[in-house]
Structures are given as structure tokens and as C-alpha cells.
């Protein structure tokens, strides 16, 4: 559970990482929304935290919660930053199965057959 940083108070408050934005610009960002960089290059002119997100997602796709874990940022902060990066076209987002569709029989059958395959 211990990372490379010693426990202690956060030196930069979370609200500075988002430049004062308190809420995601889109409320569709879930912890398991999959995000990826929209281009191969890390865009110029981003704030430090957004730059790190763009850098991390330059090489592939991850969910919002994985971005938060790898960058050691609170999920609520990453949601705000990711929303802005999606709005500005820097990131592409893939929504998870919507709550209304989660009990679709076909989806559940796919999950079940997937789990059986994992079990071997």
C-alpha cells in the first residue's frame, strides 16, 4: 500500500490542480469511463496536472479511476480535469455500460461466459 511518497499532508491543495473548477463540466464521467489521448502528441499549454494526464494517456487507454491511482490524484479531481480535456478535444472518452442498460440479457450473458472462460 505504500508508494514512493511518504504519507503526510498534500502540499498542493486539490482545488489548485483544477484551477478552481469544483465540478466536472460533464456529469457523464464515471470512475470507469475509459479515456485515451486524441492524438499521438501531448498537447501544449496544459496545466501541470492535465499535462500529466495527457502524458499518461498518450500511450493507451485507461479508466478514470486508474488515471487517479497512477497519478495519485483524488478521483473527484481527475473527473474534473478529464471532463475539460474531453471538452477541449484532447481526450476521447468511452462511457461504460449505462445504468439503464446494465441488465441487458445479452450483456449479462457475455459477462457470464467471460467469467467462465477466466475460470477455465
Amino acid at each position: 500500500m505504500s508508494g514512493p511518497h511518504s504519507p503526510g499532508r498534500r502540499l498542493v491543495p486539490a482545488y489548485l490542480a483544477t484551477a478552481g473548477s469544483a465540478r466536472p463540466s460533464r456529469n457523464t464521467v464515471d470512475r470507469i469511463t475509459i479515456v485515451a489521448g486524441a492524438s499521438r502528441d501531448v498537447p501544449e499549454g496544459l496545466g501541470p496536472a492535465q499535462h500529466r494526464i495527457a502524458q499518461l494517456l498518450q500511450s493507451g487507454s485507461l479508466t478514470v479511476v486508474e488515471v487517479a491511482a497512477y497519478l495519485r490524484l483524488p478521483v473527484s479531481v481527475v473527473k474534473v480535469l478529464v471532463s475539460e480535456l474531453v471538452d477541449s478535444g484532447h481526450l476521447l472518452a468511452r462511457a461504460p455500460v449505462p445504468p439503464a442498460g446494465r441488465y441487458d440479457r445479452q450483456l449479462l450473458e457475455r459477462v457470464l461466459s467471460g467469467l467462465r472462460a477466466v475460470r477455465g
Binding site: G3, Y15, A22, I34, T63, P74, P99, R105, G114
Partner: protein, 210 residues
Amino acid sequence: MGFAPSAADMTGSVVPAGTDAVYLPADHTAVKIVVAGPFAVGKTTLVRSVSEIRPLHTEEVMTSAGALVDDLVGAAAKSTTTVALDFGRHTLPHDLVLYLFGTPGQRRFRALWDDIAVGALGAVVLVDTRRLEDSFEAMELIEERGLPYVVAVNCFPGAPSYPVVRLRQALDLHPDTPLVACDARDTTSCVDALIALVTHLIAHYAEDPA
């Protein structure tokens, strides 16, 4: 807990974080299942047993009132606390990727529940037969959110085993709610508990396209 990024961390002047990131295959759709229960019941162990990546954790910032900090500016004046949340993932055939979230089953974490339970397929509630009642709060939080669940008895060595009928009675389970035995250290056993949940979902919740 290893959180609390340093100033250098936040300005990106250190080695790029996430170089050990295991990226997702293209075009996958994410689904999630909640793993709930009291402290030290085996949530982290189960998540670790199923996860194909090194299990990760986030630090969730809570106010003393038990709210997740969404209003970051207003939160500066409140007293806050953090709770570590373990999660893992497993890529499934058919372009799916399953996320498991170990979620503490205490009512003071209800705001966290509101965030995690949205869109979750269901939950696995872990119980320890030496302290069944410790899992009641998690079961209530799940029921309040209308989330289907299975109860998995984590078979700790030396813990008493009871007849299923008595366990169901003691846990006051709905007749349809599955009760399974599980060894959280054993991957196959954990996957079986997940299979029991999804089988339950198909039997009682599956909807056919209109």
C-alpha cells in the same frame, strides 16, 4: 498509504508517473462489481485474487460529515479525511473489462457508495462467520441502492461453519439471494462467487430488448 503527492509531483517535474501503467485493449467496454463488507473481511484479498493487474488504490477524500468532496473549494473549510479504496480489473472475452471495487461497508462512507454503486452490476458481500453482524451495514447500504448482491462466506481457517439454513436465517436473506462459500485467497473460488452473482442477475434481473 503512500498518497499525498509532493509539490514536485503535482508540477510534473518528476519522472512521468504511470510508466508501469497496464493499458486497456482497444474498444473494450467497462463494467463494475462492488465487493463490500466490514474491515478485514477479505475485500482486498478478493480484489487481488481476481485482478490481472497489480491492484491499485485511490485515496477518497471525505468530509467529516461523510460527504465525498465534490465541492473542492467549499471543502477547504471543512475537516476532511481520506479512505483508501482498492480496485482491480480483469479483461474478459467479448470486449469487456470487469472492475472490482473493494468498498468499506460503513454508513459513514455512503457518499462513496453513491458514486461507486451507480451503474454497478451488483455486489458481493463478504461475511466472516465469527462476526456476521458486522456485514449488516454493508447489506443495508446495498439494499438501499437497489443493488442485487450475493453473500459470500469467506472461509477463514478456524472460523465456525454453520448449516446454510441457519446462516441464511441469521443474515435474514431474501430467499432469492444466493449464499456461497468463498476462499478470498483462491482465484477460482472468487470467480465462482462472481459467477453466482451474474447467474443471479440473469435469473432475476435480465431484461430483453423491447
